[in-house]
């Protein structure tokens, strides 16, 4: 992933911006984009547009992962989340047809209350995030976690959760089939 950032910062350099400023600008733009699209998911009237804005949000988040040296995660995010889950939603939207048109009001009565609650919870979390001393590693961004170590860890230390996940997926699969299929 260094390569990618490198090319990105070079492009910005050409415009005379320093590398550091470029990265920061890039991050904040992605963050803002993510929030806007997130807001879109939540407020757009047409459910179809919501699905699309969800996909865009997930893309931005994948981008942000890049900044956090989690390239594999970004790839997985794009592949599974945007590729699989959002398409799943689109299928679901198509199956439950007539909700697609624009006229139906999308939000119910308790808008004010939920706005208050989510704002309160947001402010609480932000005050905690700012206030508390997070455990910080001494060295800066020297540490790169390659995919190899990730795979080895997955197979050795985190083998049990890995198997448990397989159990969940199997159960979800079987369950979805049983409930989904038409039949008597």
């Amino acid at each position: 992933m260094n390569g990618l950032i490198q090319t990105l910062s070079d492009i910005l350099n050409n415009y005379g911006l320093r590398q550091e400023f470029a990265i920061r600008a890039c991050f904040y733009s992605l963050a803002v984009l993510a929030c806007i699209f997130g807001l879109g998911v939540v407020t757009l009237r047409n459910i179809f547009h919501c699905a699309i804005s969800l996909a865009m949000t997930l893309f931005c988040i994948a981008g942000i992962y890049l900044f956090l040296n989690a390239e594999f995660l970004a790839a997985v995010q794009v592949l599974i989340y945007v590729g699989a889950i959002v398409t799943l939603f689109l299928f679901a939207i198509m199956l439950t047809a007539k909700i697609g048109d624009r006229s139906i009001r999308q939000t119910n009565k308790q808008v004010l209350a939920s706005l208050a609650v989510s704002a309160a919870i947001l402010s609480l979390f932000v005050s905690i995030i700012i206030g508390s001393p997070w455990k910080k590693a001494a060295a800066d961004d020297t540490l790169r976690l390659g995919i190899g170590e990730l795979g080895k860890a997955l197979m050795s230390v985190y083998a049990l959760p890995f198997e448990a996940i397989s159990l969940i997926l199997l159960a979800a699969l079987v369950g979805a089939i049983v409930i989904g299929k038409a039949g008597k």
Binding site: E20, G38, V42, A70, T96, V111, S118, I129, A176
Partner: protein, 103 residues
């Protein structure tokens, strides 16, 4: 790393709040499901941020995030199947219509 840790966490918190607001106000079950995806992603951002800034050798945060994505996929599947089942039985997925059982 130029971008301080708290900014990432704040982004996570904002996404969490957005997801929560969406879950509380969307009238369609699918809308709620989408908002829930947002919440899960917020948690993922947190995990990966901590993993990056803690510099923990075994990348626990990233692995955990991986698991969360897998589980999110499973729950999305189950959620949508339930939505379809409800739609098949009650011909609507507007949550304020689904109140057969109350009091």
């Amino acid at each position: 790393m130029m971008i301080p840790q708290s900014h990432f966490l704040i982004l996570g918190a904002v996404l969490f709040a957005l997801g929560l607001y969406g879950a509380l106000t969307r009238r369609t079950a699918i809308g709620i499901l989408m908002s829930i995806e947002l919440v899960l992603n917020a948690a993922n951002i947190n995990l990966i941020t901590f993993n990056r800034f803690l510099g923990s050798p075994d990348g626990l945060g990233q692995i955990f995030a991986l698991f969360v994505i897998a589980i999110a996929a499973a729950s999305a599947v189950v959620g949508l199947v339930l939505v379809i089942a409800v739609y098949r039985n009650m011909k609507t997925i507007f949550t304020d219509k689904i109140n057969l059982m109350k009091w």
